[in-house]
C-alpha cells in the first residue's frame, strides 16, 4: 500500500505544515481571507440567477440549427419545475379526488335519479349512429389520453412502486405513444362534435330557468323543460369544446416542441396542458357519472341511441314535443323532415 505509507509519512510532518501555514497567513492576510471563502463564486452565481427577472436568460451561440440549444441558463425554468413537482399534483389531486368525493356524496344523498313515471316501453331516437360514433370516438380517445396523461403526472408516485421499474418503463413508453397518436382522432372527434351539435347547444333563456331549478336534480319527479340539450348538457358540450381546443393547441406545441418561439413559451403550454387536463378529467367524471350510474335510462342515449319515451319527456319535454310534431306532420308539410 504505497499510498497509505506516503500518507503516514506525511502525517509525521503535520506540525511542520501547520507552522508554515501559520507563517503564510500572518505574512499574507489577503490570501488568508480568500482561503476562507471557497464558495464565493457559487454565491455570486446564485445572486446572478436571482437577479435575472422573469423572461431573462443567459444565452450563448450555437452553430447547429436548433436555436433553443443556445439557452444556457433560464431561471424561470426553476419556477416551472417547482410547479410541476409541487403545485400540479395538488391541483390534480384536489380536482379529481374532490370530484369523485362530491359524486359519491351526491349519490349517497340524492341516490340514483329514477324515471319518475317508470319506463313506458316505447322509445324515441335520441342520437343517430353517426352521433354515437363521434361520441365514442372522442370518449375512447379521451379515456386513453387521460390515463396516459395522469401516468405522466402521478405514475412515478403511484404506479412505479407497484409495477417495478421495468414494467413501469415499458408501460409508460407505450402510454406515451398512445397519447401522442390518439390525440389526432381525439381532435378529429372534437371538430365533428362541434359541427354536428353546435346548433343545439347555443345557450338561451330556457337554460337560465333550468339552472334556477337546479335541473330538477335535487327534487324527485320535477324537471324543468328542456329542448334537445339542457343547460347541464350544454355546459358539458362547451367544456369539451373549449377544454378540448385548449388541450389540442397546447398538445400540438408539445408534440412539435420547436413550434413555440422559445423554451419559456414551451413551458407555458405545458402548464396550460397539464392544468386544463386535470380540470377536464374532473368535469368528465361528472359527465360519466350522470350518464351511467347517476341517472336511470341515460346511458341508452349513447348505448343503443334510443331512450325511453318517459325518460325523454321528463328530461327533454320540449324536444319530445318537437319530435312528435315532426312525426305527426303531413308529408307535404314544410316542417316534415326525413327520418334519420
Amino acid at each position: 500500500m504505497p499510498g497509505s505509507l506516503s500518507i503516514l509519512k506525511l502525517a509525521g510532518f503535520k506540525p511542520l505544515f501547520a507552522a508554515f501555514a501559520l507563517l503564510f497567513v500572518l505574512a499574507n492576510p489577503a490570501a488568508a481571507q480568500l482561503s476562507f471563502k471557497p464558495t464565493a463564486e457559487a454565491v455570486q452565481e446564485d445572486k446572478l440567477l436571482n437577479a435575472l427577472k422573469e423572461g431573462d436568460k443567459i444565452t450563448g451561440r450555437v452553430s447547429i440549427p436548433d436555436g433553443m440549444a443556445a439557452s444556457l441558463i433560464q431561471p424561470a425554468g426553476r419556477d416551472w419545475r417547482d410547479f410541476q413537482r409541487s403545485k400540479l399534483p395538488w391541483i390534480g389531486g384536489v380536482a379529481i379526488l374532490g370530484m369523485l368525493a362530491l359524486l359519491a356524496i351526491f349519490l349517497m344523498v340524492r341516490g340514483r335519479i329514477r324515471v319518475h313515471q317508470g319506463f313506458s316501453g316505447r322509445t324515441i331516437l335520441r342520437f343517430a349512429s353517426f352521433e354515437r360514433f363521434t361520441h365514442w370516438l372522442t370518449a375512447s380517445c379521451f379515456i386513453i389520453l387521460a390515463l396516459s396523461g395522469l401516468n405522466v403526472s402521478f405514475g412515478r408516485i403511484l404506479i412505479l412502486p407497484v409495477f417495478g421499474p421495468e414494467a413501469f418503463a415499458t408501460m409508460s413508453a407505450w402510454a406515451k405513444l398512445a397519447h401522442n397518436y390518439l390525440a389526432f382522432p381525439f381532435m378529429l372527434g372534437l371538430v365533428i362534435m362541434f359541427l354536428i351539435w353546435i346548433r343545439d347547444n347555443i345557450p338561451g333563456k330556457l337554460d337560465l330557468e333550468w339552472i334556477k331549478q337546479g335541473g330538477g336534480l335535487l327534487s324527485n319527479g320535477k324537471h324543468p323543460p328542456a329542448k334537445r340539450f339542457n343547460a347541464g348538457q350544454k355546459g358539458i358540450f362547451w367544456i369539451v369544446i373549449i377544454g378540448g381546443a385548449l388541450m389540442s393547441v397546447s398538445g400540438w406545441f408539445l408534440l412539435f416542441p420547436y413550434l413555440p418561439a422559445n423554451v419559456t413559451a414551451l413551458q407555458f403550454w405545458t402548464v396550460i396542458h397539464a392544468v386544463i387536463a386535470m380540470l377536464f378529467i374532473a368535469a368528465m367524471l361528472a359527465h360519466i357519472y350522470i350518464g351511467s350510474v347517476g341517472m336511470e335510462g341515460a346511458f341508452d342515449a349513447m348505448g343503443s341511441g334510443e331512450v325511453d319515451l318517459n325518460w325523454a319527456k321528463e328530461h327533454h319535454s320540449l324536444w319530445v314535443e318537437e319530435e312528435q310534431a315532426k312525426a305527426s306532420a303531413p308529408p307535404d308539410s314544410p316542417r316534415a323532415v326525413p327520418a334519420e
Binding site: I64, F133, F184, P185
Partner: protein, 51 residues
C-alpha cells in the same frame, strides 16, 4: 354497440395512420440538427429509437 366498436376501430386505425405519416416527415435529432460544420452525436435507442 356497433357505433362503439366502429369508433374504437377507427381510433386505432387513425392513430396508426398518423404515426406512419408523421414518421415519413420526422428525422432523428442527430440528423436534423447536424450541419456541415456541426455534427450531433446519435443519442442511441434510449431517446429516439433505433435508426
Amino acid at each position: 354497440m356497433k357505433s362503439f366498436v366502429a369508433a374504437l376501430a377507427f381510433a386505432v386505425i387513425a392513430a396508426v395512420g398518423v404515426a406512419m405519416v408523421l414518421n415519413t416527415f420526422q428525422q432523428s435529432s442527430s440528423v436534423a440538427f447536424s450541419t456541415t460544420g456541426a455534427r450531433v452525436g446519435d443519442p442511441g435507442h434510449n431517446l429516439i429509437g433505433p435508426g
